[in-house]
Amino acid sequence: MKRGILFSGVSVLLFFTAFPFAWMIATAFKRSHEIFTTPPTLLPESLTLENVARLFEQTRFAVYLGNSVLVATCTVLLTLAIATPAAYALTRFRFRGREAISATVLFTYMFAPIMVIIPFYVLMRTLELTNTRAGLVLAYTAFCLPFALWLLRTFFQSIPLDLEEAALVDGASRPRAVLYVVLPLALPGVVATGTFTFILAWNDYIFARVLLAADELKTLPVGIADLYNASVVDWGMIMSAGMLVLLPVLAVFAFIQKYLVAGWGSGGIKG
């Protein structure tokens, strides 16, 4: 790719993606009446931490953040634990009903989540899992599972069977073959799936809204929406909430960056 195209392309991309965040951060540090002046100022005239302070003093933002991290992480772990072996089985084993399972998985997604809400709530209520984070984790796992299965299946499919066969011929047991040969190759897929799952759980609004009641259990989307809808819209405070939401995300990405690096795929596939 020509350097010129690359440079301008990446610049435009980064501007499109990052500028709204930059604006959010600038607003988070502005004083209230500066936020409402025209013309708008790009950089705050006077930096202030009062919005962030108010966020932590007057609201339970820290609690919401903790809840979101906990729920999303548990969802990822549970989903991957269930979906990875299942996806592997779907591509490696022959058993009856294999095709039907895939079809059902896809079909369940086509029923709009919003319509599932009431029966879902009733079900959770029967299991006494409403107003618990565990219930929410189960709900998210169920919601993410079809997609995780589908995506992982694609990745497992792209790993040729020959590799495992070779390992088995060499005397390795199947679990070892999987652990040392297949999984490393599927790792970008597992990481990508984990990422998507994390984000689906992180972003959800409607399940958290309906299934959780107590304020101290709220996740970020619900907590922030409530701040936004509160009778006093404190833009400075809302923007600082948005800004702080990015921090755990930065941490997650610093971690997974390594696993999306090129080079994993090219290794052992020479025919």
Binding site: S32, H33, F36, T38, Q58, T59, L78, A81, I82, P85, I117, I118, Y121, V122, R125, L127, E128, L129, T130, T132, A134, G135, L138, R209, V210, A213, A214, D215, A225, D226, N229, A230, S231, V232, V233
Partner: protein
């Protein structure tokens, strides 16, 4: 992988066991402002201290979410003990026998101590099925300084108001700002129709959208919104406030006492007072006789299927005790009017600094309430609350709002828009069995 089932089992067990430890009262309310939330939590904590073995779970919800949650909980057969709700919601629920009366709380407060207006909300067969948490009316807020400069008089008729709006509209400033969302358009329509002597439905539940008062109201809205900032249909309630103190608009038809707090926070410091932002009494329509305002007064509702209604009643009594109630209403003093005469007359309440600063706003609201000119959303006469339990669905359907938008935005003739809405409303009522 073996640990997962056991972890799940542990979580399940923990969830189940914690639910049975004490008596739990669930309280849902709609005062989402952080300081109001804190006040309710404080009251809850104090109640728990006095009643060991009782736990109060408080949740504050935004409007759109509350109704959905109430519904989900009713569907699951596990409603909360107490919840806020709109007056028409209360009426609808009561008509299905889902609420318990709150007469015990009324007695504890003293029946004569509660404002008459408040007692009319959700009162059926002499029993009180909803008790308003606090009342505040809608207000016509205007820029006093600009009005003085332009020599504008308080509007007595709708024509006056349009003329004032026109006069205000100059040099980047618009005459009026109105929220365009469904709830507020319905509120507006209700107020205006009442001020124009009209009704929404007759005794047989037939919609009266083609009537003269309604058509005049539609024309008025069309004429008035000519002086609203473009894109007003996308402005939410809070945005109309920012328009006001951000100096884009000079009047608000649907301000509320809460605005005083917003103005103090967001307007330039020199302007954040009642000298610059004052209220006029709302004008009267061509076919009407007296002004009308909407009252924002959600009643507390006690649900029949809940687990601990007795404790909930005790909680409500505690809530309205002077120290607790005072703390609560002081979180938004110009908006949260106490329902008890005793607290209104109380010296501590009167001495609240904000009340001192915005006295005229309080006086206009008291005027509406004392003269019975304030009603809940979509209610024209108090009777409607009990005889028309479908108002909740009418509000949610957006049919009335679509009608207003047809006239104000799509430039359809009022008669045409009204007849289309008439048909849709008739279909709605027929499908629910209210209209033959």
């Amino acid at each position: 992988m073996k640990t997962i089932p056991s972890v799940a089992a542990l979580l399940l067990a923990a969830a189940v066991s914690s639910a049975h430890a004490q008596k739990v009262i669930r309280v849902w309310h709609t005062e989402t402002q952080p300081n109001s939330q804190e006040a309710v939590r404080n009251i809850a904590k104090r109640f728990e201290a006095k009643h060991p073995g009782v736990k109060v779970e408080v949740e504050a919800l935004a409007w759109g979410d509350l109704e959905g949650k109430i519904m989900a909980s009713l569907a699951a057969g596990t409603p909360p003990e107490l919840s806020h709700g709109q007056p028409i919601t209360c009426a609808a629920l009561q008509s299905k026998g889902l609420l318990l009366p709150l007469d015990e709380v009324v007695q504890a407060l003293g029946e004569a101590n509660i404002w008459d207006q408040v007692k009319r909300v959700c009162r059926v067969d002499g029993r009180q099925y909803g008790l308003v948490h606090a009342a505040g009316t809608s207000l016509l807020i205007y820029r006093k300084d600009l009005a003085q400069k332009l020599g504008l008089k308080p509007p007595r008729t709708w024509a006056d108001l349009v003329a004032n709006a026109k006069a205000f509209t100059t040099g980047g400033m618009y005459g009026i700002t109105i929220p365009g969302d469904n709830l507020f358009i319905n509120i507006l329509l209700g107020e205006l129709l009442k001020a124009n002597g009209g009704i929404f439905f007759d005794q047989q539940n037939r919609p009266q959208l083609g009537s003269k008062p309604m058509l005049e109201t539609l024309e008025f809205i069309r004429d008035l919104t000519r002086y609203a900032p473009p894109g007003w249909e996308g402005h939410g309630y809070l945005e109309t406030f920012t328009n006001l103190y951000g100096q884009k608009a000079a009047m608000m038809y649907q301000g509320y006492g809460r605005g005083a707090g917003l103005i103090e926070k967001g307007a330039p410091p020199a302007m954040a007072n009642a000298e610059h932002f004052d209220v006029w009494v709302k004008p009267v329509g061509p076919s009407g006789r007296e002004p009308a305002a909407q009252v924002d007064e959600e009643p507390w509702m006690l649900f029949k299927g809940s687990k601990n209604p007795k404790e909930a009643v005790e909680f409500l009594k505690f809530f309205y005790q002077k120290d607790n109630y005072l703390e609560y209403v002081q979180t938004v003093p110009i908006h949260l009017f106490p329902i008890t005469k005793s607290l209104r007359a109380d010296r501590d309440y009167q001495a609240t600094p904000m009340i001192q600063r915005w006295k005229s706003w309080i006086e206009v609201q008291e005027g509406y309430l004392n003269n019975d000119q304030g009603k809940p959303t979509l209610v024209i006469d108090w009777d409607d609350m009990n005889s028309k339990p479908y108002l909740m669905e009418v509000l949610g359907s957006g049919i009335l709002r679509d009608m207003v938008m047809d006239v104000a935005l799509e430039n359809k003739a009022p008669r045409e828009a009204a007849s289309r809405a008439q048909k849709r409303l008739e279909d709605l009522l027929k499908s629910k069995g209210y209209l033959k």
